[in-house]
């Protein structure tokens, strides 16, 4: 069963700043539809009054990663697209994956060591013969 990795989305913006216009339109028009379409994501809207930091969309994931996306001077549709992209991501950091595979047990028969194909007289210690 699919478990959505996005825990909560926090919309931090100022109700008076000019570059937060898209954020305000998003809150008025599209936020409810978005929340209804993604019932397992909690959407927090926190306007802070007065001049403050740039409007930001903060996404927190189940593995603890917090991702901030700037929404300054973005239209409401762009913010909706950004929010759906964050909702479909997992919280793993976005770096180059070195190998697309991983095993905890790479060897079933025992990994090769220099004595694997040598006669067993070199490794096995027989019972110590009693002096008669």
């Amino acid at each position: 069963r699919y478990v959505r990795q996005l825990q909560r989305l926090q919309l931090l913006f100022s109700p008076t700043a000019a570059d937060a216009r898209g954020a305000r339109q998003f809150v008025e028009e599209a936020a409810q539809d978005f929340a209804r379409r993604h019932p397992d994501v909690v959407l927090y809207v926190s306007p802070h009054s007065g001049p403050g930091p740039a409007p930001v969309l903060r996404a927190e994931y189940l593995n603890g990663t917090v991702r901030d996306e700037l929404i300054a001077s973005k239209t409401s549709e762009e913010i909706v697209q950004l929010a759906t992209k964050l909702a479909n991501q997992s919280g793993l950091d976005i770096i180059r994956i070195r190998k697309p595979f991983h095993t905890d047990n790479p060897s079933v028969q025992g990994q090769w060591h220099p004595l694997t194909n040598k006669p067993s007289i070199l490794t096995v210690q027989g019972p110590r013969l009693q002096p008669q």
């Binding site: 060897s107 079933v108 028969q109 025992g110 990994q111 090769w112 694997t116 194909n117």
Partner: protein
């Protein structure tokens, strides 16, 4: 009075030079010497590093294939077979394993590799018998070919 255009002697000055410089220096942080600190030297070094990394992607394939071949050669010599004999006899027995997989088997699955070497050796002996015996004996079991239609 209303001024519709800026006066000609007013130029716009760069305000984010720091971040433009950091964008380049962040790729040079692990270099040696002044090229990890000084922008002018770092620009040249970073560009060369990127070009080399692009070209090296083609070389990496050749390098890894040579590495696999070395490892398979070492493993098959432990079992008394030389690399050309091993690979050719495996191909003749319709075992289509590539060198990457054979090298991994040689490291992590030594018994499987031993059985593959034995298979190649048996096919080799059957090949010799077929070439030297000249049709009097029945042809070998491992020389039979499966046709997939």
């Amino acid at each position: 009075m209303v001024v519709l255009s800026a006066a000609r002697w007013v130029r716009s000055r760069l305000s984010d030079r720091f971040w433009r410089v950091q964008e380049v220096l962040k790729y040079a942080r692990h270099f040696r010497g002044r090229k990890n600190r000084c922008y002018k030297l770092a620009v040249r070094s970073v560009r060369r590093a990127f070009v080399k990394s692009t070209k090296a992607r083609r070389e990496k394939k050749r390098f890894l294939r040579a590495l696999w071949i070395t490892r398979i050669e070492a493993a098959s010599l432990e079992h008394g077979l030389k690399y050309p004999a091993f690979i050719s006899n495996l191909v003749k027995s319709q075992v289509e394993l590539n060198r990457k997989v054979l090298a991994d088997l040689a490291i992590y699955e030594p018994k499987t590799f031993k059985s593959l070497a034995a298979l190649a050796q048996r096919r080799r002996q059957e090949g010799f018998l077929a070439a030297l015996g000249d049709g009097k004996e029945p042809e070998g079991i491992f020389s039979r070919i499966v046709h997939h239609h």
